[in-house]
Symmetry: C2
Subunit: 454 residues, 2 copies
């Protein structure tokens, strides 16, 4: 950004624009901590007008504009790799309306999902997508985030009814519908979901809420291997138990959680299975069937967490598994993966991936939203340990080949950002050019979050 | 299509190409019976190669190409209004694979959903979207069809994992993923779903299957008014009973069904509510709660259909309601509407629409997938009865204003086709131009199903 442009923005936005070192640094990285690049300035937008003004200036002066809210992306999505303006939307934090009878809420893009849940709870409702970080709803829409709740309630994509989106040319458009279904013209809503801010800036979302389940338990059990745990997850899905959550967490991640949170979970590959029903009797039936399936699959130490406190402990552990692993190796760099495969191929892909890690002697840990066929391998090494990084990248390549051969995808929920462009090009060789042509319809000169996805 | 082009196609496709009068006529209309236009020729494609050859010829010789399978569209989607080639895909009728462990099936675009269900049933699975007509899966994808099952299982959109699509330039692309979720690049899959054949030709679909529910009943009850029945439906949804189907059918439609199918249902506004559970005990609990909600809402003559035969009778009646109404007035033309509104606005929009019909003395009947906020008003009049048609169109306009004011959509499930272009332009004034620009990426000269949607 040239000095005159910066001066212009400072004059227009006043104290909402910051070039303070600490502010620029906080907007130069995300949770992945792999890449780092400073923006030229950060705009703390306080209104839709601020966003529209920023877009107008970007178009006139041709500088990059990169949306930011919580900074919890994992693939470098919010990093302004070409500098320009980091557009901080965390000030657009108003829950505009909750329509309990319509199971929907309208929020500004900077509202975090825990805040929405805090307000929805008093209506007996909740936002069901739970990625674990304190993500904003605009950010979740931009990567189609999901997490533990998706196995029952779908991903962010499935839970957004309508959005208002600002385009580079200053138009604000409405995509999707507040009706539960629509067949009215091309589906532009789903084009913006998962577009990582490369097509427009999401201003406002009307989202689906769900009734809070009445009776809930978590069953946990340990297995001989991650592949054995994955196979059990497949059999639970096959029995149509429709769990609320169905999570795999391996012995290394359990160890990290035990150390980090002072827990005493058995350090073995584990499934955490949340079941819910409208009544206690119905829940007891589901639980009995689920226990039986776990025992048949060789589960040990089956235990039931019934109280809200015990359940909250388990999901806190799941949410903090990533940061617990990162904390175990404070001087290392971490690389998280995010493949998702059809359910019937999950056990073989997990087993082959584990064998690939073990074969190269890598200290790689596994967690997974296995009811969806989605799992993450977390690698780590010292930044300068070239031999280990070569082994990690070779393993990641191998994991991708296994995934694509099984009909899977390089990203189940984290998106592409900077880190998975190579794998997207492999997975979507036949449509990458079409995606670029669509990008050009909205952003012909490449100002919106440049270098992401492609 | 000029004579040389027709000769070229005849030489290339031989007996697969037809210009027989009866064949052209069968491809010149759809279920709506409002518009009619003959194609120049019909190609009965027997393979993907036939489709690709047809597209190549269309591009080279610049003639329109309009996909056709069962012809069950309701908004004129399959009518070749500019002539050209009707591309009949009903010969692409192979169920390629059913992966029971992955809850998915791969089918060619011409497979009908009842045929898929016939084959899935032996695996304990089913395709959950049930629009009532014997629609093809390619056709259902092209309009994002839904019907009775959507309240529990979502629309066609929600149940398609991956598609292979032929583009005008001869490319075959894969959109979506066989994994249950993906965040890998722009969502092109949802762009083709609901595009009514205007962007490309769907060749093959991998779809989601669901476990057949174990214990099922249908509760039926009668109400004083359609608005009263709609209000009861909203309270059932609010109680999180998650019905399998939740259908409103008014006294006129019940009368038509009684006449047409020899039934003896009470001729009153009615709800048909299907409930399912994994066990009998759980089902009994749901049924008791549902009965209570119906009684609180003033339902009368509550009756439970438990046997498969009784339930099949009810759903046959629902599926044939449209043709039963049409048969009541054999010399009339029918006009079906398809609005969908947020659930909390449904009773008021139904009541106001009914008042608008009654105020103009129209013999209009109501059916609705009311758990989704979607309802259809069926109008009819003699073709030359200008006064009644004026009243019908004025009522339809009024219904659309009510719908849009309530945050709803002009099409819940039938699509736009020829008949709803005016209403789409009203609902999507801010994005229609963007849709045209996206169309131009795939079909710059407007050969794919011209004049539809826009």
């Amino acid at each position: 950004m040239n000095p005159e442009t910066l001066t212009l923005l400072q004059q227009h936005f006043g104290s909402k624009l910051s070039t303070a070192g600490a502010v620029l640094e906080a907007h130069g990285r995300d949770e992945s901590r792999i890449d780092f690049h400073l923006p030229d300035a950060v705009l703390f937008a306080e209104s839709e007008e601020d966003v529209l003004d920023a877009l107008r200036f970007a178009g006139e002066r041709q500088f990059p504009i990169v949306p930011f809210a919580v900074g919890s992306s994992l693939e470098g999505q919010v990093i302004p790799v070409q500098g320009g303006l980091s557009l901080d939307l965390s000030g657009l934090n108003r829950v505009i309306a909750i329509e309990a009878g319509g199971f929907q809420a309208t929020v500004q893009a900077g509202v975090t999902y825990p805040e929405l849940n805090r307000q929805a709870r008093q209506h007996g409702l909740f936002w069901a997508v739970d990625p674990g970080a304190e993500a904003s709803l605009g950010g979740m829409a931009s990567t189609n985030a999901s997490g533990t709740g998706a196995v029952k309630y779908g991903t962010t994509r499935d839970n957004i009814l309508e959005m208002r989106v600002a385009l580079l040319d200053g138009r604000v458009i409405r995509v999707g519908s507040r009706a539960r279904k629509t067949s009215a013209g091309y589906d532009l809503k789903n084009l913006f979901i998962g577009a990582e801010g490369t097509l427009g800036i999401i201003l406002e979302l009307t989202v689906r809420l769900w009734p809070l389940p009445a009776e809930v338990v978590v069953l946990r059990g340990n297995f001989q291997s991650v592949a054995g745990a994955a196979a059990c997850a497949v059999s639970i899905m096959g029995a149509a138990l429709q769990p609320e959550r169905l999570e795999l967490i391996d012995e290394r991640e359990i160890h990290a959680v035990n150390v980090h949170l002072g827990r005493h979970y058995p350090e073995r590959p584990t499934l955490w299975i949340e079941l819910a029903s409208p009544s206690r009797a119905a829940l007891a039936e589901s639980l009995a069937l689920c226990r039986e399936l776990c025992e048949d699959a060789g589960a040990q130490d089956l235990a039931v967490a019934s109280s809200p406190a015990e359940r909250a402990d388990i999901w806190e552990a799941r949410h903090k598994a990533y940061s617990a692993m990162v904390a175990l190796h404070p001087t290392h760099v971490n690389l998280s993966t995010d493949v998702c495969v059809p359910l019937h191929r999950l056990p073989e892909v997990v087993a082959a991936t584990r064998a690939a890690c073990d074969g190269r002697g890598l200290d790689a840990s596994f967690v997974g939203h296995v009811g969806d066929g989605n799992f993450h391998v977390l690698f780590h090494a010292a930044p300068d340990d070239k031999a280990t990084w070569d082994a990690i990248h070779a393993t990641y390549d191998e994991m991708m080949s296994l995934t694509l051969a099984a009909g899977g995808t390089c990203s189940g929920e984290h998106g592409i950002g900077l880190h998975k462009k190579k794998y997207l090009a492999q997975e979507r060789a036949d449509t990458l050019e079409l995606m670029r042509e669509i990008k050009a319809v909205f952003d012909p000169t490449g100002l919106l979050n440049p270098q992401k996805i492609f």
